[in-house]
Symmetry: D2
């Protein structure tokens, strides 16, 4: 399958009979070759339907814009769909925000460099200077934007400007240790992915590995989620866990946690980039 000619249709609407038939018939009649279809229904009577289709575009009988207008006017209008079509050839632009811990950001840059993540990386922004050379070694522009309680408004304004100039499509907080304002979060709805270093909802707030150590848990976790105005409360995309024991001190938890964070964040970003996630209130539907 050629990834350059791949398109995706994501749909959300009230569930009722005939939707799958309508959407697949529309695509078939316009020359799309469906290669993957996932659907999820919260309840076939009175619930919501979520659907994701992948299709190949070479034999389409209409150009993109016309196809989308045709879909909007017919199937989408009939079933009152919330929907989007995306094209794998349009690589989304991923900006990374990071503080002092580099492992999560390096993991993303590394996978991007290897071709594992089909994105462009227009910039990395940090509230520290420390990672400049490591980032620039990947050929990625690095911006230092200091961030303190006193300068938060100016810092966020500066970051917003940098993100706009970079034409960023989405933002990854790769262990960015400052709390962004509700306004900033609201400007990027379901467009900011954060990696939280614990198994949410356990251990919200600061220093979760220390919290986990103090509680004496036998398992630690990491959680990737979309950022909303409520800290640590946004829709969860992916989680994973690892065993620890009484002999692991806080630094061991941090070390084991770094490996979890890298893996969990990489999966979440991959799914976001491949348009596999639909937000459903405070949850996510992930067609992984």
């Amino acid at each position: 399958m050629n990834p350059e000619t791949l398109a995706r249709l994501l749909i959300r609407c009230d569930d009722r009979p005939g939707i799958v038939a309508a959407a697949t018939t529309f695509l078939y009649h316009h020359g799309a070759n469906i290669t993957e279809l996932d659907q999820h229904s919260t309840d076939p009577t009175g619930g919501q339907l979520f659907m994701r289709l992948e299709f190949q575009t070479p034999a389409l009988d209409l150009p993109r814009g016309a196809l989308e207008r045709a879909f909007a006017d017919t199937v989408a209008a009939q079933y009152r769909m919330d929907w989007r079509m995306t094209y794998a050839a349009d690589r989304p632009r991923m900006a990374i925000l990071v503080s002092g811990h580099d492992h999560a950001a390096m993991e993303l840059l590394w996978r991007w460099q290897r071709g594992e993540l089909r994105v462009d990386v227009p910039c990395v922004i940090s509230n520290h200077e420390t990672l400049r050379s490591a980032v620039e070694a990947f050929g990625v522009p690095f911006h230092h934007v200091p961030f303190s309680a006193a300068t938060q408004d100016a810092a966020e304004a500066q970051m917003q400007q940098l993100l706009v100039e970079a034409r960023a499509d989405f933002i990854v907080l790769a262990r960015y240790m400052r709390i962004l304002s509700a306004e900033f979060a609201a400007a990027w709805p379901a467009k900011i992915i954060n990696i939280h270093h614990s198994f949410l909802p356990a251990f919200v707030g600061a220093d979760p590995y220390r919290q986990a150590y103090e509680r004496g848990v036998k398992i630690i976790g990491a959680t990737a989620h979309y950022v909303t105005a409520d800290l640590d409360q946004g829709p969860i995309i992916e989680q994973d866990t690892a065993r620890v024991s009484h002999s692991d001190v806080v630094d061991d938890l941090r070390r084991l946690g770094r490996d979890l964070e890298r893996q969990v964040l990489a999966r979440a970003v991959r799914w976001h980039v491949e348009d596999r996630i639909i937000v459903d209130g405070n949850k996510t539907v992930v067609f992984a």
Copy 2:
């Protein structure tokens, strides 16, 4: 969703555009409400398409037989489909074959008794007498069929007769330690599920936990697969693994392995019962 009015359509055919649209449109026009749809394509050009649909039957405009004939004459004929429709209200009849180790058989009976497995259990057959009372406590008939190299033909003939009388739909080898003949296996194609006590294809043959111990592996596994004429070579349905260490002796591996076997076999049987498995040569497509 009412499980009693649930039906499933499983399809396998050469992949080409229009199949999903045709199948979903057919069901929609006959009043079926599709609640789940999974598909898998080995290659959109020249490959095979596998599809599974779940739908609710109350609003169907045709009785079962007529619906199936209509599907056969139209969609299935057009796309040369290998297909089947099944109805959750028809509980499949699961016969269990077991030898001396009871854990796998007990796990199935227990889940069945709790209502977790939507099957009927017409009989348990064993080459030992030891489990009679444990089985009969579940209200399930128990048959003792001795089985030795010398008596294999007669034993298999007797079991075949018992299985036919019991109107068994499929058979689970829940640690049945005799090797069935190729003829017996051929009489139940993709209808015999075996639990092998290792991570196949490692450690085929006898006493795999001892083999694993001798090799010094750090992980053990269990494998549920359909039985074919080739011992331990049939299509794999499900596998799982668990960590072991140098301090675990063979009996520890057996104990840890029992837990794996129970879990893996239970999942495989559940998927078989819910018609989530399509055999593809020596592999399985599992819409779990």
Copy 3:
């Protein structure tokens, strides 16, 4: 190794040099053959030392009581140890408290019947009658003790009397859905094991699977812990997790959770029975 002649020495004291040498030399001089030794030091300067030794008793030069007195007067006194010696031949007596959900209690009874758990089971107590026949089928006495807010004091008194008459050594709450009083908990310090149906400290309180579903987690868990006066806050013994997805409804989480609960509780009880757990404040040291 003969489990019938196995003894264990568990030690907790302030850490300082010489303790391991003193304990092992004492045992050696009295004819004990040490077969396993684990130690854990929270900090070699100013921390606590936890140690567990397994040894074979056939060549001991003193009977049990004399050996323990000798240890108390010499090594234990010198290092101000909190310690205990136990003997595998003395099977601990495990009482089970259960409400309507039977899976955790059945799992323990089943493992006990198979010989996997070296305990005696003097009784099962329930606030419902429903499990009487299932329990009595194992040859275990079943007591029905109704328990409501109004009758809590009388119910707990009756249970205490039953437990004393049964000479119970420890209690397992195998999905016992009543909250025991702080007084009851205090009467059995580090002697009551509860299985909580979530990954603590997430989802404390009632109906944790529904809480997990509402939060949209991608992983669920189960936690075995000792019961203290603080509900769901006691020292954690063991935890495990399993993946779930957007397609799993609350009942799926409950079903998947039952499997976790059975496994986690079985491991915790096994470690308790084998004296592998030392409580350290609100944590546990588990020499698994």
Copy 4:
């Protein structure tokens, strides 16, 4: 605990009573403060004992050499021990051999650069030029040694010379795709760690991810092992597994496998560096 003043004593001998007491008493009398002790006995009567002690050296009454001679002449001689003492301040020198796939080598260099691996890295050797700049960016010398069937003898001789000049203590084959001769392997007994891209002993030989795909397994794995003259047969150090499904093609298995390989190899190297592994014939005892 200060890692710079940490020492380790590893012991292997025939098991009999008194060994633990003798070793710990010796260390205590010479001022060592034991902070960790692990032991493993294959059988207390007639088996082998494996033991690892960590101790702090600041209060030792003898310098290193004298302490080792004293131990050799007393305890080690009495119990005919195979033993070694190592000092964490002596960072072992790790040489890396790699071919075209860089993920495993980069993971090790990255962890080393972050301070997670307490080693020196004197050189990386590859049969390709491709990774030169990536390696040199870490400040590590890179040597290109072409390797073909015709040039194997010369290539191995050149590598041996480079390894000697680099004063390498051990070698990691981080996806080095050439088969080294039995002579080369024999020159570095239990000093070469290989990452095999499958769950050994399944899928030995070439292209194991394709083999796994063809077999239709539901789980893939990776295995770190010491290299011996028998290809893929050396003592296993560590393994891990990950789930795959029918929808994963060979490239997906390779991608998922890379993550496994990085994790498994990193753990194995860490344990080797911390002297946590004792080889026992074709197995390992890992005091992790």
